[in-house]
Symmetry: C2
Subunit: 555 residues, 2 copies
């Protein structure tokens, strides 16, 4: 048992006079971490979730102190060994990728400094770093004049944007600005922030407030509509085209409908924001942002772009054309823990107009006084870590030249994978990737031929109910097959891919289960992708033969 | 210039086969960090904010890659050297304190694993760690039966609480649950989450929704009322007593008023939540939580407790009495980066009823499917880091026994400081600290005598306008003096203290500028506090003589 007194404890709080002990533990940890990455034992550990449950089911808070080295051992055995190897080159299922190893060094600095970004009294240089980074990303997106940035890069009177914890809070920030801007103070009405939504609706004779995005909109938009009191049923999810982009004709139709509705005179429908997506989470596609700007103007509404995933591509000039129109958005969400390769988690929200964030500005007595220079005046969060050091440093170490190489490599990987799938007789490609997300499913050759045949029949005679039913039945069975396949891949644990459900494929409106690959890890190679697909084929074929062959051939 | 190709870049993404380089940089960093802490050069660097502005005013994103070692040098010169030494024992101004050095090691692990807590596919063991920690803190607060915890500690069907980014998001989570619970689905009404607030008000014939807290409520409550669409003017900030606790008689009066108002029949006023505070941010006091529970029942409302600051004291049995009634709250906010001594930032929100968080539950196709075990089903944030490793490990290494020592020491420090101030003829104590926050101001002996004299006169004849005016005038001047003093302390930079404005002192309703000390750093000692107060006295006396003596003696 360990004897403790306050003197002993104090030693834990101080950087030891001789840093030997710290370094000793540091060495051990490096070995641990190194071992974790070297370990060839699969993406996940073999332990089952019920077994893991048992390990972490101690209902008593520890009473007696435990030695640091014993605790680190416990962390290794119980946690590190059973963590998901998200940086493994065979892990191509989620947006979490390998990160540069210097991130680990930067986290040391961030923890040691322990600055709280809410306030200049707890974050001196780090407040300025944050503003410089925000200005860089702002320029990347909105490309306003050099004079604009020279004036505002360190202008504490305005905020060009916020650093946030993640894309959800970034989207929340944007939609709050949009909502508040739609119901401003006017006459005897003190504004929606003071009076609340119900009062705002009464004053402005508004019967409904809408948010418009596409069916590919991130699920955070639903969350946010609930949080800010608009209500989930007041999100209009416009259909998408075959490229998973919001349908412009559908938007125009919605506009006409709302105009008609507003002529009735029983209260107006207010569109508080139109949201474009620059990198859909499921398919990696980009809406036609320039068109959306013009439609937002027709709606007389706020135009937000969710570029949490895709935004980083703007670092490379040759990909800018993909985002044409983004510079005209009112706000843009941009994540650092996605394609800026930072560890979890840091988002940003940028506003074209340097005064937009005044719609959220707040103050208090003991921090963020009205005359202050505190970053906390404009944020939803209160206390925030000095997370911006990570992307700020990464941009210096890699430079835009480095990002160009990373993204070229990611494009090559996606093309490789697409090639593998399209040339393979047992797979069907189900999206046209613009960025690095590719969807496909396992469909044995024979069944694919049958499907193609039925599709031609459907084209010839769209009203033929028999064809439709057959297609539906086959796809329903293939959905089950691909869920089984996904499970088998997880079981095998040599690689990792995610799965989702799409309604924007050639089989629309039927929803299709697909495997979803995200190929952004610089350690992944075309050979690795080949290995992965070979395994999918092997497992898929086995499952097909064992469980689905009879069923599918009978249809 | 550095030549880069994708092979070079890949090396940054891999833990080097021989970890020498990583360790080499690690060593250098340790030296840097060590130097930062050893440096006796004051709390802040001498650089002015305009000078710092200049350093961070490069409007161009770096194009060419830069060597890691050069970048780390830049981080040292520009950032580390100009960061605030929040862990310095002379820094007693904010809730940010020294942290145990093993936190730096834990951050290395967190970054290396890079788990995303939103989903089991990106966070295996770490999801279980999170639930175990949440269960510990839940038990600490609500102390339900051991059977309850055995059943739910790893029960993925429910959530006893969430890990959040900070106290603001924790409070937001609680108030969203409260709001949604107040306007549930009913008959043809699909609930406030689907329909939005305006529709909810119409269906439930509600004319106003209120949140009640005290005048000491954290400024995040204002933010949240704006965010969730209730409106800032619908927060009732009940007055506090001389101990900065919410006034129970005032609450009863509010209850009666609302009942009267509701009898009118022109729509009801709905109280969606009553918020108690367990550790006011400015004064460290704790509301009478047991009374608040009973009043919440009278209001038939949700009872939330903001224990972001004070909650950790529950780790030590002897302090539980301070929080009597907290176990009956519906939800409690609890921060790890405050008195669990974690680095920035991590909060928690705990709900007594394991089903409360169903009011926020959401799903999506590609992550957090309805049948999933994902932690992201219940959170406001999407992507989240494995931050819970820090408090989980700290509780093991320190144990509740270790926290007992830390808090006893903090109580001793607060008592020392209070003693120093109360015995000192040039200072006036302005709150009775229950936890570790103490407010005082500089009032030269002579002026203090004058004030005391006037206060007696006011007591004798409360209607005497001349006395009142004199008191007001003296306090206004003392406010200015203490703002000057605070500025001088900042200038001197040997120590750091914050300042705020209180309206709950003996001079109420006049608002008084106070210095605010938070004495939680285990490296601070009574001798250090004496040094700090001696300096305050020296600076205050100088300012008084130079600028305020004439003015004050004339009054």
């Amino acid at each position: 048992m360990i004897k403790t007194n306050i003197e002993q404890l104090r030693k834990l709080f101080i950087m030891p006079d001789s840093p030997d002990k710290f370094i000793e533990f540091g060495h051990e940890l490096l070995k641990l971490i190194h071992h974790f990455f070297q370990d060839k034992g699969g993406i996940h550990s073999e332990i089952s979730l019920p077994e893991l449950s048992k390990i972490f089911s101690n209902i008593d808070i520890p009473k007696k102190p435990q030695l640091l080295k014993d605790t680190l051992r416990e962390v290794k055995d119980k946690i590190i060994d059973h963590s998901v190897k998200v940086g493994n080159p065979y892990y191509i299922g989620h947006m979490t990728s390998a990160i540069p190893y210097f991130m680990i060094l930067l986290e040391m600095i961030i923890a040691a400094l322990n600055q709280n970004q809410v306030k200049i009294e707890t974050a001196k240089a780090s407040s300025f770093v944050e503003r410089e980074l925000i200005s860089w990303i702002h320029r990347l997106i909105f490309n306003r004049s050099p004079q604009f940035y020279k004036k505002h890069i360190q202008n504490h009177r305005v905020a060009l944007g916020n650093v946030t914890i993640d894309g959800t809070i970034s989207n929340l920030t944007a939609l709050l600005v949009a909502r508040n801007r739609a119901f401003p103070p006017h006459g005897r009405f003190p504004g929606i922030r003071k009076a609340g939504i119900a009062e705002a609706f009464r004053y402005y004779k508004c019967k409904k407030a809408l948010i418009i995005t596409s069916a590919r909109g991130h699920y955070s938009i639903d969350k946010i509509a609930r949080i800010i009191g608009i209500g989930e049923q007041n999100i209009i999810k416009a259909p998408v085209d075959s490229m998973n982009r919001i349908s412009i004709p559908a938007l125009r139709q919605i506009h006409t409908q709302i105009q008609e509705e507003n002529k009735k005179g029983d209260g107006t429908i207010s569109v508080i924001a139109l949201i474009g997506i620059a990198g859909t989470t499921e398919t990696g596609n980009i809406d036609n942002l320039a068109e959306l700007r013009s439609i937002a103007d027709d709606f007389n509404t706020f135009f937000h772009v969710d570029a949490a995933w895709g935004g980083s591509l703007l670092l490379v000039d040759q990909y800018r054309y993909l985002f044409r129109g983004i510079e005209s958005a009112d706000s843009v969400t941009f994540d650092a823990h996605k394609l800026l390769y930072s560890p979890l988690s840091m988002g940003m929200i940028l506003f074209r107009d340097e005064k937009s964030l005044n719609h959220l500005k707040h103050t208090s007595n003991y921090v963020i006084r009205p005359d202050s220079v505190d970053q906390g005046r404009f944020t939803i969060e209160g206390s925030r870590p000095f997370a911006c050091l990570k992307p700020w440093t990464t941009l210096k170490i890699l430079g835009t030249d480095g990002f160009k190489l990373l993204f070229e490599n990611a494009f090559d990987l996606t093309a490789s994978l697409r090639g593998l799938i399209e040339r393979h007789c047992n797979f069907e490609a189900l999206n046209q990737p613009e960025l690095f997300i590719f969807n496909y499913r396992f469909v044995p050759k024979k069944i694919q031929e049958r499907l193609n045949h039925l599709m031609i029949e459907r084209e010839d005679d769209p009203s033929n109910e028999v064809t439709k039913k057959l297609l539906h039945k086959i796809n329903t069975t293939l959905n089950k097959l691909n869920i089984e396949l996904h499970r088998a891949i997880r079981q095998e644990d040599n690689s990792f891919i995610s799965r989702t459900m799409l309604e924007s494929t050639r089989y629309a409106p039927q929803r299709i289960v697909v495997l979803r690959a995200i190929t952004v890890n610089p350690l992944t190679t075309p050979d690795i992708l080949k290995e992965i697909i070979d395994e999918h084929d092997r497992l898929g074929t086995k499952i097909f033969k064992n469980e689905f062959k009879g069923k599918l051939e009978k249809i």
